[in-house]
């Protein structure tokens, strides 16, 4: 099953709630919104109110940070129930989380911690993605994270791991182009080899964001515009994988909505330059 191409969207963030409630309509660069699932799992109040208003106008993707797909802890059934309830209510076009772990022995780091790329980890994550997909009754997308640590025991590259996971679990890939760029710098690998190494037809969504420099390393901070090198990598990604739903993430020092949409329009412009047009499916 192909993942829907929603066009170009942005993350729904609290500073934009008043403007969104004031009546935002789809426009080039603002075809859809992505939510951080955990921020909308509680049942009432303004967040749900805003989400319902958004959903009346736009397709929505649910992007989680807490599935902890790589953790050796059992999957958190209560959290899965919350995700399922939220999905039942808003009928998202896409559900995604990360190729990482964030909890151990029932304690949560609330971070996207890196996995060793071993056969043991691959078998473990594959089982869990299959279990999540069974529970949510749909395929999910799994996103590559930015990382600052690699493990000596790695038996394969990150993209080999992700490609094998996507094939074995029959899930999609949320290709975060900025994360590829950041990790490629931090671990000295070829970013284009990463992108080319993901099987065609598996990339269901792309993330773009800004990052920061920390000494000689890069940090995935989502507090800047997308950098030129990342735009170039995006161009390569869509030329390689075709047009897929593309999202701008901006989570810190968040500018006005229009500024974020401007960034999304740059992605749209590149899509057109590559000859892919606005490239989105009929809207759900």
């Amino acid at each position: 099953m192909k993942f829907p191409n929603l066009g170009h969207g942005i993350g729904l963030r609290p500073p934009h709630y008043p403007q969104v409630l004031g009546g935002v309509v789809p426009t080039p660069g603002l075809d859809w919104f992505e939510i951080i699932s955990e921020n909308f799992c509680e049942p009432g109040g303004n967040p749900r109110h805003v989400l319902r208003a958004v959903r009346e106008q736009f397709p929505v993707a649910m992007h989680g940070v807490s599935l902890s797909l790589g953790s050796v802890d059992p999957l958190n059934e209560r959290y899965l129930d919350e995700l399922a309830r939220l999905a039942d209510e808003i009928e998202p076009a896409i559900i995604s989380d990360h190729l990482c772990w964030g909890s151990i022995d029932g304690h949560y780091a609330h971070d996207l911690l890196p996995l060793p790329y071993t056969d043991e980890a691959l078998a473990h994550v594959t089982r869990r993605v299959l279990a999540v997909q069974d529970r949510l009754k749909r395929r999910i997308l799994v996103e590559n994270v930015s990382s600052y640590v690699a493990f000596r025991q790695d038996a394969m590259t990150e993209w080999e791991f992700l490609a094998a996971l996507a094939t074995q679990a029959d899930c999609g890939v949320l290709l975060d182009v900025n994360n590829v760029f950041v990790s490629a710098h931090n671990h000295r690998f070829d970013a284009r080899a990463f992108i080319a190494g993901i099987p065609r037809g598996r990339v269901g969504q792309i993330h773009l964001a800004g990052h920061s420099r920390n000494g000689d390393l890069l940090l995935d901070t989502h507090d800047h515009p997308v950098l030129d090198e990342v735009w170039e990598l995006y161009r390569f990604a869509i030329a390689t994988h075709g047009p897929v739903s593309t999202l701008i993430e901006w989570d810190d020092d968040i500018p006005p909505l229009d500024r974020v949409v401007d960034e999304s329009r740059k992605a749209l412009a590149i899509c057109r330059e590559v000859g892919l047009g606005a490239g989105r499916d009929a809207q759900p």
Partner: protein
Amino acid sequence: MRSPEGGPRLAELQRRFFALVVAADGVTPALRRAALSEGDLDALVVGDQRRDAVGRLEIYAGMYFHRLLDVLGADYPKLAAVIGQSAFTRLVRDFLDACPSQHPSLRHLGARLPAFVERHLLSDERPWLADLASLEWARVTVFDAPDAPTRTLEGVRGLAPEAFPELPLPLIPAHQIVVVGSRVEEVWRRIEAGQAPGAPSTGRGRLIVWRQDFIVYHRVVDVAEVPALELAAAGATFGALCESLAPGRQPEDAARLAWETVSRWLLAGLVTA
């Protein structure tokens, strides 16, 4: 136990990694506590001339602490304002060390902070800090509690007189009663007004915290209102409320007092339709 590829099994690796990045005193002291050398870490994690293995783990350690500090700072802005940012940072470090997060969502991270503050050294001199934290956490909880349709004052006024005795008074899910040992709402009010927080007056009491039109409010519960709230929570009707107020009063006075109380709740959007 080693994995087939060499190196620790996944579970062991995650336990080691987690212990190092959440340690309150940093990666290097945590390594020492675990009787590990930096060489042992180098055998696990790839470092380079740009950043060694410890330095790379410290990135995660720094992000862990500062992310959670930011979340708790947003949940407890008045507590942070009263004790100052340095003391708040130390409090958060102590809290995370003693009460690591047990919920996948950061929304729940601060749930145990009021009880922790109550037994923290900070409360030796200012025992009311736990009250302030309890008020702030109630406001967080009410913010996204379940929605419910509410009765309006006009709607209830329009009821037939014979409907009043059986009128149910269920309060909305988005409300909490906070029992406090001080007039901590005074501190809240002064901070909101941009004044020095000062110290609250002493005296036990209750605060009601609720949400109306997506805005969170709180106020002091009048002494006479306490039993009425308890009755409402127990599912009492307006008639039962009048009866509870009847001893020592004329029936008309009891009914008037009950109506004054219920009117206040209706105006505040506290009664579920």
